[in-house]
Every structure is written in C-alpha cells, then in structure tokens.
C-alpha cells in the first residue's frame, strides 16, 4: 500500500492537487494581508468569498461567460470592500465585529439567493485547464505547476505583485506607514483613510476573486460553499507574518497536506475512523510548523485601530 504512495506519479498528482487547493486560500489571504498591513483586520473574508463565489457561479450559469463571471465576482468584491471601508474607516466601527457582520450577511444572503434564484444544484462547466506551452511539457514539473486553470496562475503571479506593491512602491510605503504609525503618516501628508479604503477594496476584491476561483474550480454553488476557507485564509495571514511569500508558504502547506491526506485515503492506506484523525493534519501541521519556525514578527502596530484625526 505504502509502496503505491511512494511513486513519482502519485507525488506529482498530489502536489498538483495541493496547488489547486491552495489557490482560494492564497487569493483571499494575500488580499487580507494587504489590508492588515494598512492596519485593517477583516474577519469578513469568508462572507465576501461566498458572495464572490455565488456571483461568479450565477453569472456563468446565466451568461456562460467565464470572463464576465470573474469580472462580476471582482465587482461585487469591490462593492463589499467599499461597504466595509465605509463602516470601518469612515464610520470607524470596530473591525472585528463589522467583519463578522459581513460574514453573517454573506453566509445568509448567498444561501437565500441560491435558494430563490437557482434552487436545485445546477452544474456549470469547470474552468478549463490551460497548459503553458513548453513549460507544461517538462516532466513532473510541468504537471505540477503548469497544467492548471488561469486563476491558479493568477493567484501565484499575484504573490510577487503584492510583494512589489508593498515593498517597492510609494503606495506600499504609505500602506506600511499607515499600518504602523498612522499619526505620523498623517503628519507627512499621507491620507490614512484613503489608503486604508484602497487596501480594503483590494482585499475584498481578492476575496471575491478567491470565491470565484473556488466556484469555477468545483463547478457548482451550494449553501456555505466555502466551508470555513475564508477563516483559514485569515489564519494563514498570521502564519505568513503579513509577507506575501510567507502567506504563499502557508497556503501551500495547508493545500499540500490536505491533498496528501486525500491521496492516502484514495490509496486505501488510511481507512475507517483513522481517516478522521488524519483530516486534522493540515490544522495541526500549520500550528506545529509555526512553533518550530517561530518567526516572531510583530503585527502592524496600528492593526484594528481606526484613525481619527480629531483625536490624535
């Protein structure tokens, strides 16, 4: 049995599967990381993912256009971002509870819409795989990395983009300044609230995209489709210590361990109740790895603190 597991083809398939599973986490967590770098915690990722997932699913179902589906998901994500920005930046509401409000809204509202607008589960075509010319022909590597749908590539391409934006652009400098010392940033003429509004919209748009990636990957929608993925994404932001590459490592760890568990079950190596114990593995390993690696990087100092110029 175990000999079945230690074969190249199984390894390759498992890693490819891990990358697919990591994609929604990665998209959502990258967006959340950008938001948190500017000092805004958004616990509503799960809700926005659900809204994005439903929007993409419904658009695809009605128009059969994938491009439109993704655009609509991005759009509703951005709108949710504007709402969240209005509530937490302009109205300066507590971020933790506002996010949970967004989560509850997304959970209930998409369930309601699905029941009333779709009703019975109707499949949509899954997003087609795009094999990257030449690269996808490389043995093993090609199958692991270069035979996925476009949103998978996009998610991983956004890692360097996010890194560049945060570390190498003026906007990124503003984000970090606003997240660490908003008062000082304000003195220097950086608009704290505008910067945060931007990062929130970016974060929510990414969450919407993560939802779309999920819905288009599984080709269906149902109540609570995300099943906790948005919360795991938030956890991964902490795992990655707010760094895009760290976040990506976390998403890959979680995704690949999940995929390995599935493979072990598929091959019959783990059976019965023990497979329940094994299903804990991604969660346990995430904690263990973090303890072992133990990078004590401080959170953005102004995380969750609204900025009120009158009070500073």
């Amino acid at each position: 049995m175990w000999s079945d597991f230690f074969t190249v083809s199984v390894f390759v398939a498992t890693l490819a599967s891990g990358i697919r599973l990591a994609t929604p986490f990665l998209l959502a967590a990258l967006g959340e990381a950008v938001g948190q770098r500017s000092g805004v915690l958004n616990l509503g990722v799960e809700g926005v993912m659900l809204i994005g997932a439903f929007a993409a699913y419904f658009t695809k179902l009605k128009t059969e256009s994938t491009v439109l589906a993704v655009l609509v998901a991005l759009g509703v994500g951005a709108v949710m971002g504007l709402i969240y920005a209005f509530v937490t930046v302009i109205m300066q509401a507590a971020q933790g509870i506002s996010g949970i409000g967004i989560y509850l809204f997304g959970l209930g509202f998409t369930d309601l819409l699905f029941q009333k607008q779709v009703g019975t589960p109707q499949p949509i075509p899954k997003l087609a795989k795009v094999e990257i010319p030449l690269l996808s022909d490389i043995p093993w590597i090609g199958e692991i990395f270069f035979q996925h749908n476009l949103l998978v590539y996009l998610a991983f391409l956004l890692v360097p983009v996010a890194w560049f934006m945060i570390n190498k652009t003026t906007f990124g400098l503003n984000i970090r300044a606003v997240g660490e010392t908003p008062e000082a940033a304000d003195t220097l003429g950086v608009s704290v609230n505008l910067t945060r509004t931007f990062t929130i919209v970016i974060g929510n748009t990414m969450a919407g995209l993560a939802g779309a990636a999920l819905a288009l990957e599984v080709g269906i929608f149902q109540q609570n489709l995300t099943a906790g993925q948005g919360f795991i994404a938030i956890a991964l932001v902490y795992f990655g210590a707010w760094r895009p590459v760290g976040v990506m490592s976390g998403a890959l760890l979680f995704g690949i361990v999940s995929a390995t568990v599935l493979t072990l079950k598929t091959l019959g190596i783990v059976e019965g109740a023990a497979s329940s114990l094994l299903a804990m593995a991604p969660a346990i390993l995430t904690i263990v790895v973090l303890v072992v690696v133990s990078r004590r990087i401080a959170a953005p100092a102004a995380l969750t603190r609204p900025f009120d110029r009158a009070a500073s």
Binding site: Q95, I102, L107, L112, A273, L277, V291
Partner: protein, 399 residues
C-alpha cells in the same frame, strides 16, 4: 444595582488608548438622545430586511410579526429564545474575558465541542452517580474541556508567539474532526444503523427543567450566573484588573511588573471554560440528551462560537450587557424558524439580517458620538474631544 456599577466600571480610564474595552465606549449623553442612533440603525437594518422580504413576495409586516411572535410571543417562544441565547451568552462571556485581556478568541466552536466531549464522556463513564453530584460534575467537566481547548492557543500565543487567531481557527478544525472520529469509533452508539451520536446520557445527568411547563432548563440560569461571575471576575477581582490592564496596554503592564504571558493563558482558559460549559449544556439540556455530530459539528454547536462573538461585542464586551444582547440574537434565530414555517421564508434570511443589523449598529456608533457632542454643545456642556474616540480595536498590538 450591579448594573449601575457595571456601567460605571466599564468606562476606560484612558479613552485614547487602544484598549479592547473601548470598542463600544461612547461619550455620555441623555439616554434618549443616545438611543436615537442605534434605534435608527436597527430600524434601517430592518428596512433592508423588509426589502428582502418584499423581494421574496412576503409582506414585511407579516414577516416581522411572525419573527417577533416566534421569538417572544408567549412563554414557549420565550423559553425557546432563552435556550437559544444560552450558548451565545456563555460564549459571549468568554469572549468578554478574552477580548478584554487583548486576546481574540475565535475558537468558541472548538471549545464548545471540547467541553461537550469531556462532559459526555464523563457522564457515560459514571452513569449511576446521584443527580445532585452528577449535574455539577458534568458542568465542571465541560468547563475543564473547554478550558483546556482554550489554554492551548493561549499558551501558544504567550510562549511560542503563535497568533491566537491562527491557533483558535485551527483548533476549531481539530476539535470538529476529533468529534467526528469519536463518533465513528469510541463514543458511537451501538445500533442497527450507525448514526454519529453517543448513547443517551443517564437521566441523572440531565439538567432539570424549570417549573412552568416550558422547555426552559437549568442551563439558562447557569448561563446568567456565569455572566454575573464573569462580571465579578473582570471588575471585582485583582485578577480581572490584571487581565484588563494587560489587554489595555500590555507594555505598560509588563513594566508595572504584571505577568503578561500568564494573563494571556488565564484569559484564554477562562474564555474556553465558558464556551465549554455551553458545550456541556448543549448536551445535557438538549431535547435528545446526547452528543450528536451527524451532519457536521455545527449541527451540534449551532455556530454559537461565532454568534457568541457578535453577542459579546453587542454587549459592549461587558458580561452583563451581553445578557440582553444574547437574548436579542437568540430571539432572531428562534423567530427565524417561525418565519420559515409560517411564511416559507428561508431561515437564511435571518442569518443575513443578523449580519445587516451588526453592520448598521456598529457602523452607526460614530454617528452616535456626533449626536452626543451636538447635544452636549447645545446644552452648554464642555466638549470633550477625547470622549469621541470610538476605539475600533478588538485587540491591540499584543504580539
């Protein structure tokens, strides 16, 4: 009287700091003016709900009548609402303790499950114990189970630098899977068709029903008692003062010689214990008197681990204010069932509506302070800019 003192106690001494307790602190105003904004916010949220109901082809008035009737219309409905509010309140009290100590506990789900597992295991192990002993014992077991499940992320945060947000989310997953494992193996009921549930626990462990002929059981009173104890702990003991101080300003507390790390672990232990008690009550006060995990862990926890956070924050992270807040959300959830049965409106609407209520009410707090300022100004009271600070944090940079 405690309420009055509580209100007084709750005021952050330094509104400018990043204390967690400040999230709902407003400047003082005449009660009437102070209520205008939140009532308007709830009304606005209900207006959004009306639009949704209209879109579903339901008369909003009939919808809300059904909702309110289902939640508060008669003793049975009030009992159901109270039972629904129970886990929200217990988790909420735990949230008050953790958040005030600067620790974000999103692990209520896992802590409920851990409390339920330990208490159920105990009750199944010693079934023939007299009721007067067994009932307190299972509640304590619940507290211990939840406490352990809370202590782990607390210790991870304090001594290994693992964010409690990450740890509690992961601990939820672990608890849910562990429950599923136990209900396939060690704890599953013997039966012709295997169902993921334990044996019925012994009658001696059942929480007694309160007189009055409703489903109301002792668990609801225990929840309220825990809320009072939580209040006393936070505001009447030196331990509570230390916890709040650590949450308020960890660095200053450290310089003042307080054991910050130990406080974090203690806060999470208490927080988890409260949720664990909810887990025990969900078993021993339930209709079924057993732990049922069929269909997923949230079928058992009722998502109280999350909804309790909402209740606590609505209650201004104050254990006593969390009581009415829990009953409000408990009522929404109970009324939602009636709404569905009577008008065939999906209960999902209520989940969405709860979200809208949360967003509108927390979103309007700033507006409220502006109204307050306006009132103060027009009454000639000195304007105190510092009081405007509505701290958004549910945590400060404790890391």
């Amino acid at each position: 009287m405690t309420t009055t003192e509580a209100v007084h106690e709750d005021a952050p001494s330094d509104p400018d700091s990043g204390g967690v307790g400040g999230s709902f602190a407003f400047a003082a105003v005449k009660p009437l003016a102070g209520l205008v904004v939140p009532v308007c916010a709830v009304a606005a949220a209900l207006a959004v709900g009306s639009v949704m109901l209209l879109a579903l082809g339901t008369n909003p008035l009939r919808g809300y009548a059904a909702l309110i009737d289902g939640a508060f219309g008669g003793w049975d409905a009030l009992a159901d609402t109270s039972i629904k509010a129970m886990p929200l309140l217990l988790v909420g009290v735990g949230i008050c303790i953790a958040f005030r100590a600067g620790v974000i506990n999103i692990g209520g789900e896992g802590q409920i499950i851990a409390g339920a597992i330990l208490s159920t295991s105990l009750a199944l192990t010693i079934p023939d114990t007299p009721r007067i002993i067994l009932v307190p014992l299972v509640l304590i077991a619940g507290a211990v189970g939840g406490g352990i499940w809370g202590t782990i992320p607390g210790a991870l945060k304090a001594y290994a630098g693992v964010s409690e947000i990450l740890a509690t989310i992961m601990m939820n997953i672990i608890a849910a899977q562990f429950l599923s494992f136990l209900l396939q193996d060690l704890l599953i009921e013997e039966g012709a068709i295997k169902i993921q549930q334990t044996e019925r626990v012994d009658a001696n462990s059942h929480l007694p029903l309160l007189p009055g002929g409703t489903r109301l059981h002792l668990g609801v009173l225990i929840a309220i008692l825990v809320a009072v104890l939580g209040y006393l702990l936070l505001f009447r003991t030196s331990l509570g003062m230390r916890l709040r101080s650590v949450g308020h300003n960890p660095h200053a507390s450290k310089y003042a010689g307080m054991a910050v790390n130990r406080s974090i672990v203690q806060a999470m232990a208490f927080s988890g214990a409260c949720a664990g008690v909810a887990g025990a009550i969900l078993v021993f006060g339930s209709e079924s008197h057993r732990l049922i995990g069929e269909g997923g862990a949230s079928a058992f926890t009722q998502s109280a681990g999350f909804n309790g956070i909402v209740a606590a924050l609505f209650g201004a992270l104050h254990p006593l204010w969390t009581i009415p807040a829990s009953f409000f959300f408990g009522g929404m959830l109970t009324g939602g069932i009636q709404l569905q049965q009577e008008l065939q409106v999906p209960a999902a609407l209520i989940v969405a509506l709860n979200g809208v209520v949360v967003i509108f009410v927390v979103g309007s707090l700033k507006l409220r302070t502006r109204v307050n300022r306006w009132v103060e100004r027009h009454e000639g009271a000195p304007v105190q800019p510092h009081k405007d600070v509505v701290d958004g944090g549910v945590m400060s940079g404790v890391e």
